[in-house]
């Protein structure tokens, strides 16, 4: 467990020589939070503007064994980017799009590039980075890589890791490495535990021109599973999204189960661009409306399709509003702040069904207690290789 730490004046002065660094009360307070309910304690905040400064920050912190929390857009829902008796390294100022090769469909970016900013540039060239999580307006590429973010179209385009060609990473000892092929997974999805990403070479795709939708209503849970099994092998499908009756009621739809099936072809019945946008708006309103109505806690369990019916029945029995990317098994059940026991009960159910406690948000600090021994051992093995003094995200995940 991470203990109370303080920075001494000498260290503060050394850090201030590297880049903008603050340990004033306001910055420490703000960086003790992210988008989760967790409140940590930032000891200071550093804003590097280039890889060389990241290297120097890492070396000093490694020398004095000062814990570091790397941070991008701060949209972690698990406390992953909140300071935790640590110095927060905010990479938002490293936001350059370094190069774009239109022919090869490859872009090299710094970690602080906001996803929407990247895609609005790529739009001019008819290209897109197709992994689009709900936080696309604010999430940064570094954070997407570290949590291996997914999104609505993950059924076709997978997760962030599937689009990484290579990564430039700095380790706590200041060594720079280029992660390619198998090495990428040592950093993508590892929540900043093994190194700080300073550059990412990403694959892109051409923008999709044809889309159509089916918006289907179901009475029973088993009917949904039957439908998904029927269509799941269709390669033209780019999203299968779900809304359960409790969620539907809260967004003013009839209290039924709904599936939104998106095709990158003309197979869907709804072809008008306006109607497609309208239906996506309904789906995208789920999160904000539920938040407004007090269903603040959002989880992201991943359930195997063959057990999905059982899980949907559990949600129904406990009156839990839920929506999510059912096509890839990731759902977003929502809870009120006084329902923490029910959250625990749900995670027990997830484990019993052979599911994963986090499909896309990561473990951070709020889900540590639900991590299984095998995963902890795997993380620890990698820590020994990359971060033997355990300065990166100490106290998080493991």
């Amino acid at each position: 467990m991470n203990n109370e730490k303080n920075l001494n004046e000498k260290t503060i002065q050394e850090l201030k020589k590297i880049c903008k660094f603050s340990n004033n009360k306001k910055d420490c307070l703000v960086y003790s939070f992210d988008a989760s309910e967790f409140k940590g304690k930032a000891l200071g905040v550093a804003w590097p503007e280039n890889p060389e400064q990241v290297k120097k920050l890492l070396k000093i912190c490694n020398k004095y064994r000062i814990p570091i929390t790397p941070r991008g857009g701060g949209t972690s829902l698990t406390g992953g980017s909140a300071g935790f008796n640590s110095i927060v390294i905010d990479l938002s100022k490293m936001n350059k799009i370094i190069s774009l090769n239109k022919e090869k469909k490859v872009v090299i970016v710094e970690p602080g590039v906001v996803l929407d900013n990247l895609n609005s540039l790529l739009k001019k060239f008819d290209l897109i980075f197709p992994v689009i999580p709900a936080s696309h307006k604010t999430c940064e590429i570094g954070g997407m890589i570290s949590t291996n973010a997914a999104g609505e179209r993950a059924i076709k385009y997978g997760k962030t890791i599937d689009w990484i060609k290579s990564l430039e990473v700095y380790l706590p000892n200041g060594k720079k490495i280029k992660a390619k092929n198998n090495k990428i997974k040592d950093f993508a999805g590892k929540e900043g535990l093994n190194g700080i990403i300073t550059k990412a070479e990403l694959r892109l795709k051409e923008k999709t021109r044809t889309r159509s939708l089916n918006f289907l209503k179901f009475e029973k849970n088993e009917e949904i599973i039957k439908k998904i099994k029927e269509i799941i092998k269709n390669k033209n499908i780019s999203a299968i999204e779900f809304i359960n009756p409790y969620c539907a009621e809260l967004i003013n739809l009839e209290a039924k189960n709904y599936l939104i099936i998106e095709y990158e072809s003309k197979e869907g019945e709804i072809k008008s661009k306006k109607k497609i946008e309208k239906i996506w708006k309904i789906r995208e309103s789920c999160g904000p409306v539920l938040t407004q109505k007090g269903w603040i806690i959002m989880e992201d369990p991943k359930i195997p399709l063959k057990k999905m019916n059982n899980f949907l029945n559990f949600l129904e029995k406990n009156k839990i509003p839920c929506f999510g990317h059912i096509g890839i098994g990731i759902l977003h059940p929502r809870f009120q702040l006084n329902q923490k026991e029910l959250v625990k009960k749900m995670f027990k159910k997830v484990k019993k069904l052979g599911g994963e406690i986090s499909g896309e948000h990561g473990i951070g600090i709020t889900k540590k207690e639900f991590l299984n021994k095998k995963m902890i051992e795997n993380f620890k093995k990698m820590k020994k290789i990359y971060d033997p003094y355990n300065i990166l995200n100490e106290g998080k995940v493991i």
Partner: protein, 117 residues
């Protein structure tokens, strides 16, 4: 503290549209940073005063929080305690004294200093 700010769940959806944050790139200088400060009763003048009150954050807020009104109230609190920024003090002083925020200037003259919040 405004009741409205308690509805803020720190989702960060406001961050992408804030013109101040886009330039300064420091969370403390953006809408969520200000919300955290206000929620924690820590009214820090620089962060509270560098909001442009453009309301862009309000359009992207899923909880529909009127952050600009909350900022204005926070400024009122700071003024009551005499903790507003020097620029704000000077601006008010100039308005009272000269009828404009720039101080003593002749017609057509470009003000040497721009005092505004």
């Amino acid at each position: 503290m405004s009741k409205d700010i308690k509805k803020c769940v720190l989702c960060g959806m406001c961050k992408g549209v804030c013109p101040v944050l886009k330039i300064l790139l420091e969370e403390t200088q953006g809408p969520r940073g200000r919300a955290i400060l206000i929620k924690n009763n820590f009214l820090e003048k620089e962060a509270i005063y560098n909001c442009t009150l453009c309301k862009a954050c309000e359009f992207s807020c899923p909880a529909k929080i009127n952050l600009s009104e909350i900022i204005i109230k926070a400024r009122e609190e700071l003024v009551k305690k005499g903790n507003e920024t020097k620029a704000n003090k000077k601006m008010i002083e100039n308005i009272r004294k000269y009828g404009n925020p720039y101080g003593k200037i002749k017609k057509g003259e470009i003000p040497k200093e721009l005092y505004c919040c």
